[in-house]
């Protein structure tokens, strides 16, 4: 039965007690890697497939132990500050093991399907009351073989499965994954091709095709299309209308959700040493503003807007 015995996946977080993104109490598994590069990405640590060393500076007691064990001499203490040359080494095991504060860690872990299922079913008692697992990322279907094997394994355990995907993958991947999914969240961020390329790095043809495919499949009622509202970019009535038109033209009963802007993402960018798209962090939208956006979707015929009350 263990066809995927050697299959390993890279996971950057397993979060229990997820109360959004699906019914009941869930465990969300964040798979590493994403082909896209949204400038506002909420999980910048999940983009690269490569494992990175993470250093949690606020936990460090500057004892210097890691500097003495690191064979590559990639870690040094200079004037009380720890300097890590992340490019200088691949194997940080000894440094990580030496740290009394556990503040050196890899940003992701590699698991087999079995290991991950075992880890997740610890909350099976919670899943029984309408909960389950959600695959997120990165783009969870980027590690396609692993993701599909994982979903299959969860279905074999009788666990409800959900996914959050950008759908920027080959259609046969989507097709295979659908077999084992109970709930599918698809991000549709930007309708305009050029803007999509500008902000996300690629055009959206593939995404549109896949959305069409899913909304024409027998799982179409288990799909929720979502647009994260990013100020000055996706949060634009024209964009919302265009998306709304597109999806209702495929399936008039489609479910659609607008996600409020999340100002918390910015803080993560310090950890991964990248630039966030906003120097000045915008605020979240008020309920009134949200309703205006929702109205734009309703105006083009969206009947089922998901609104959390």
């Amino acid at each position: 039965m263990n066809t995927h015995e050697k299959l390993r996946g890279k996971v950057f977080d397993v979060r229990r007690f997820s109360t959004h993104d699906g019914g009941g109490i869930r465990t969300t598994i964040f798979l590493k890697g994403c082909p896209l590069r949204c400038v506002w990405c909420q999980n910048p640590e999940g983009l690269s497939l490569k494992s990175q060393l993470i250093y949690l500076e606020n936990q460090c007691i500057h004892c210097g132990r890691c500097t003495t064990v690191c064979k590559n001499h990639a870690i040094t203490l200079q004037e009380g500050k720890l300097c890590i040359d992340k490019g200088a080494a691949d194997d940080w095991e000894e440094a990580i093991d030496s740290c009394p504060a556990a503040c050196l860690t890899m940003d992701s872990k590699s698991y087999t399907v079995e290991e991950l299922v075992k880890l997740t079913v610890r909350d099976a008692a919670f899943f029984r009351h309408g909960g389950g697992i959600t695959l997120s990322g990165g783009e969870p279907l980027f590690q396609k073989d692993f993701a599909i094997a994982l979903l299959k394994a969860f279905k074999e355990e009788g666990i409800h499965t959900a996914i959050e995907t950008s759908c920027y993958v080959e259609q046969n991947v989507v097709k295979d994954a659908l077999l084992y999914l109970d709930l599918i969240y698809v991000d549709f961020k930007v309708f305009d091709k050029n803007k999509h390329k500008e902000w996300i790095g690629f055009t959206n043809d593939k995404i549109k095709e896949n959305i069409r495919f899913i909304l024409e499949s027998n799982k179409k009622d288990q799909v929720i299309i979502r647009t994260p509202l990013i100020p000055t970019m996706t949060a634009d009535k024209e964009n919302i209308s265009a998306i709304g038109k597109f999806i209702t033209s495929i399936y008039p009963e489609v479910k659609y959700e607008l996600l409020n802007y999340n100002p918390l993402a910015k803080a993560k960018y310090n950890l991964v040493e990248r630039e966030y798209c906003f120097a000045e962090n915008p605020r979240m939208y008020t309920e009134d503003e949200m309703n205006e956006f929702r109205q734009a979707a309703r105006n083009v015929g969206v009947k089922h807007l998901i609104i959390e009350v």
Binding site: R16, T19, G24, A125, N262, L264
Partner: protein, 784 residues
Amino acid sequence: METLIKTKRVALLKEKMMAEPRYVSIEQALIITKTYEENQEKPVIIKRALALKNALLQMGIAVEPEEKIVGNRTIGVRHGVVFPESGSSWIDREFETLPIRPQDKFNVREEDIINFKKIIAPYFKEKSLEDIIRTRYGTEIDEIAKVVKINQKDHAQGHICPDCEKWLTYGPEGLKQEAIAKLQSGTKDQQDFYKSVILVMEGTQAFMMRYHDLLVEKAGQETDAANQVNMREVAVICKKLCMNPPNSFHEAVQSIWFLFVILHMESNASSFSPGRMDDFLYPFYKKDMKSGSIDKQKALEIIECIWLKFNQIVYLRNSHSAKFFAGFPIGFNIAIGGQDENGNDFSNELSFLFLKAQEHLGLPQPNLSVRLHKGTNEPLLKEAVRVVAKGSGMPQFFNDEAIISSMMNFGVSEKDARDYAIVGCVELTSQGNNLGWSDAAMFNLNKVLELTLNNGKCLLTGNAIGPDLGNLMDYKTFEELEDAFAKNISYFIDKMILACEQVEKAHIDILPSPFLSAVIDNCIQKGKDVTVGGAVYNFSGIQMIQVANLADSLAAIKLLVYEEKRISKEELLKALQNNFEGYEIIRTMLLKRAPKYGNDVAYVDELGAKWARFFSEKLSHYTNYRGGRYHTGMYTVSAHVPMGENVGASSDGRYAATPLADGGMSPVYGRDIAGPTAVLKSVSLLDNHLTTNGGLLNMKFLPEFFKTENNIDKFAKFLRTFVDLEIPHIQFNVLRKEDLLAAQKDPEKYRSLTVRVAGYTAYFTELAGELQNEIIARTSYGDL
């Protein structure tokens, strides 16, 4: 759905109550002293009965014109009552400091101090419970004080659920008649017992009548017509209750309140709990609703009036005790919902009205508890979560699936177990027939581990307080260390039991309680006071303090010293002896490189469960002074702070004299970083027989977790799983702004705190300062 409001009357009464200053009262103490002086030759139980009767006849009483429920044990509300039979020496020592002590302050009148010192203290010197225990067994109690805190040394026991149903059925006249019928037969002791019951019931009737008279008098002077009507109405009820059992809902509630006032006047003790009030008041409610004499709003007003009353009795503790039980917890615990006697789901309109009253008033009393089980109806569960969301930390939740069977295994009948209620905070009891002595002692397991690691010597003082079985360096294997630990636990259990027996014996000698006994089965039948074992069930509860720290400490030693050998025995011992000064790296490793209880890691959770089991098993071999069994609980009110003061640096990385984990089953603050589901999983590893005396799991959440109906639903599901996992208790602390400000200052303690914004969860303490501020700004839960 109809909207039920908090009426003007209730708002006004609440306002008046909150404005009252808190004073110490010696009025009853003077009456008691005089009665004792005049009746020197009589048996104690008769003296006690006469003293109560005289208090019922003579204490000043007062009413508010708006009150629907009247009665109090002092003329002012929220007065701290001096009770010389149980303890007067401590008051003698602390009287002047009561207004300025750090915890639970009271105002004091100059002349009271003088009278107390002149009249009361001299008479009760060497006669009070406190002094007698001190003389008989004080040295031994002191010797083990750092490990075991023996309770009930200077006050009556309390912690009991009276038989409210019986009281409502018979009233004082009926109970008096029951005693009269028994008077002729029996031994001298039995006859004294019955005589004393008759005396206190006579006092009770007179007390009720005095309220009638006062109300009639005041109504005559009242200018407001509505108030006049109200006072006359309540007067009629008081008069009726002297001779007859109640008929209407209003009468029944008034009758219950009289019961609790008088219980407090007799014992001056904490935690007389009404129990399943939605059960025993329901017949009255149903009848009145049917006849149309009340509607829901009227019923709610009456309920809210007694809810206010529950806040008018506070309890004066000595300054040491006040640290352990801070904030005057008086323990009017009311249990709603749960299974009925056949195991079916039970709740009714009263259950919902009680929740509504809690939501409206948001006061610390009563301590509202919801019993859950697999079949709990969704509306009750959801409504309870909505009330929790209001932020008062109530109601708390108990789990029939965990509790009923373990009570039965412990020897409670199926019928009584299904009908269980809670006394005080979380102590489990059958109703109306159980002197559970649930707060007999607290046993500090962490101190015993400290002594085991350090030749029986206290790390704080260097004094030898336990047997010298060696120190960490002597134990070649972890098993050797465990052997020594086991021996030390047994040594202190032996000493604790002897002390508990002395305390119980002193209660028999000094504090027989005929009024209480009249409402506890089978005291009247046996002609035996509760203190001598008149109740059907006679347990004693010992709290294990604190398994979370113990598990973390043992896991750190086992893993880092014996298995991975990251730390040498010598280094660890030195680090502990020096309170980690100069050993910061060791402390960091203990904190960060060993698994912690509360994260669903079997390695550590099992160590905790194992030692709790060991302790509980040892204890089960002893019998208490009333012939009943000992059992264990895992809860503290605020005792984790003073108990922590007694413990030196510990191997879980905790500094000397700092608090232990709060709650009892809860993980150490901030160490549960795998989320709430992992906490429940860890806690569920503790066998239910470890907490037949009560367990407490405290979880903290931000108010935004409860903001949407969606999340209320998730919480309901979380609680359903809590039921499935058979955890006995859970309560939710909804954090306020102040808590978040504290978290900014002291992130270590709040590491487990998560926040959510627009579909994204993060650890609060790991957020950047500006974002923390933003979240704090959003967390605007003002005072209720």
